[in-house]
Symmetry: C2
Subunit: 390 residues, 2 copies
Amino acid sequence: MIPPAAPAPRAAAVPEEIIRARAYLLRTVEPPSRDLVRLIEQHGPVEAADRLRRGAVPEALLERAAARRDTDTSEADLADAAAAGARLLVPEDPQWPGWQFAAFGNARRADLAPPVALWARGPGDPSALADRSVTVVGARDATRYGLHAAADFASVLARNGVAVFSGAAFGIDAAAHRGALSAGGRTVAVLACGPDRVYPAAHAGLIERIAATGLVLTEYPPGTTPGRLRFLVRNRLLAALGAGCLVVEAGTRSGSKRTASDSLALGRPLMALPGPVTSAMSVGCHEMIRSRQAELVGRPEDVLEIIGRLGIDLAPERVAERRPTDGLAPGTLAVHDALPARAAWPARRIGEIAGVAPDSVRIALVELEERGLAEYHQGLWQRPARRSGP
Amino acid sequence: MIPPAAPAPRAAAVPEEIIRARAYLLRTVEPPSRDLVRLIEQHGPVEAADRLRRGAVPEALLERAAARRDTDTSEADLADAAAAGARLLVPEDPQWPGWQFAAFGNARRADLAPPVALWARGPGDPSALADRSVTVVGARDATRYGLHAAADFASVLARNGVAVFSGAAFGIDAAAHRGALSAGGRTVAVLACGPDRVYPAAHAGLIERIAATGLVLTEYPPGTTPGRLRFLVRNRLLAALGAGCLVVEAGTRSGSKRTASDSLALGRPLMALPGPVTSAMSVGCHEMIRSRQAELVGRPEDVLEIIGRLGIDLAPERVAERRPTDGLAPGTLAVHDALPARAAWPARRIGEIAGVAPDSVRIALVELEERGLAEYHQGLWQRPARRSGP
């Protein structure tokens, strides 16, 4: 369906049997599956594949694999993918974005399992691209305002070395990819269909352009067609691969909300673009900002600041420097931690809780007050009701 | 300059000597003056006026009054005001919005002193109007979008019984007043000139319409012309009189920011209307939302919710009901208060700080976790990093 692109690079270091095993596992158990991830962690991919073939795996996993485990199409899958210019990227490959996918390990939701491998097409290094990146999502039926903003933000971000991840859908997705491409920047499409397919078909040219300079990723083996569930499942990869997630336009019931909530669940900062209150396409963004789930971004520079501040591409010291409690002496910090948020206490009680002497407590409280970290009313101390920062 | 309106109501209960004294004080000391407010608190208005005339007041106050204290024009001022249809509203009057102005008592900024009286024109009861109210401010050079939104919000709010306070200026102010008037609702203009003047002159008709059904207020005696400083000083009254402050459009250096910061300093919730990120007139609003000073409002209903939640017109129970910690047993609340925000502690340590037994701490922590008020990671507990509410 897609003509072969440039020869796909392959990490020579990864043994073929691992590639084969992961290709088999990827097709045999429909993602996401924490049970499968656990099985691989315990036994390694080759042994895990063997156990699955033999049926020597926990009952729940066996049931999920029942329909496919007797047929190993990994050789054909790898050949079909290669014919479409795609390789199988595995966690054993140095280009695997392991840092990003580590966030799945802290997520509570059972559906937030990492992928066991990814089909990849294009010259981009997935790990390097994800290192400084933003995921841009939004409505398919976007307004001109939204399309313009998505392209403009993506273009400025790409010019600043940020890779723009999106889903290649109509509307905001396509505008974001195109904005990055127009700036000569890097962009990555994460699809919900096989690497030999394009969806939507009208974006065959766009996806080809993305694959030519950036990267097209998918969890689904060759021949897979997209479906509603697969789009939802795909969204967790978009959420994980971006250092932050920007929602450009979203109606009240937008699918972008799923990617947004996945991003939050994975600890990624969520950003939303405001728009006219008269536009139905901005209602979802405004809701996310109102509920404090998302930060409002008015300029691409805001995005750079947020992914720089909270992102994974900066040294931890930078993050620490921006905390309002930084530079506080340990005693003062203890007093800060003891300050009640929903009550107001006399200094004496705070001192008791913090384990700090009365005189030192008062000095600490005054310092905290100067920094806007404590408030004093009628003899009682408390945390400020409103924080002026995130 | 302005034809007399309907006969101004006068609270018969307030002795004339108090009215005269406050008219004298209002003209003699240019507001705001905390020293003057304190003098009146100590001695009452009549004795305070007498002391000021005699020069028996603290040095600082004497200096500020030096230029005017020898001339008592209170009789003429009251006559001129009456000729323009205005009365002097004093704190001794039951219609004085004392509840609202009490906020000045908690403010730290020295320039946030309450007025010692107000010239009032129109049939509205200032106290009743301020009880359920919102202050709407914004750019003079507003966009069509902003003007439309200001009128629309004001109209819906007015229809819901909320009085719309604004400054009668060009742009957002006028649109807000007109929106309220168009809905047959109540609106109040707070001016920075004498009650016998109109500013801007082009708004003579608008101000007349406001005075006919609502209220026109000013701190400045008859004949006073507006000036840059007086607009700034006036803004604190707008901030105090609204149960909340809504900024509709504001550029980066907008004067509305002053009213916004006065509102925050007086403990009023600040709201901002988002707009297209491509509009310079929305930059100020977006900044306020980003910095968490203002809540984003997308619909008039959002404003109703916020002033209902935090406003002064609702019973305190309603406010309390909306706290996420409501309904928690005292022990659980103590555990909540002991939860660290910037660290993560084992349950044992939290129990020590909260003074709650180990078994009860664990039960409390699980309850808090269910409510989204605590988070657990690898044996340690902490407050959730992001709050989903204000």
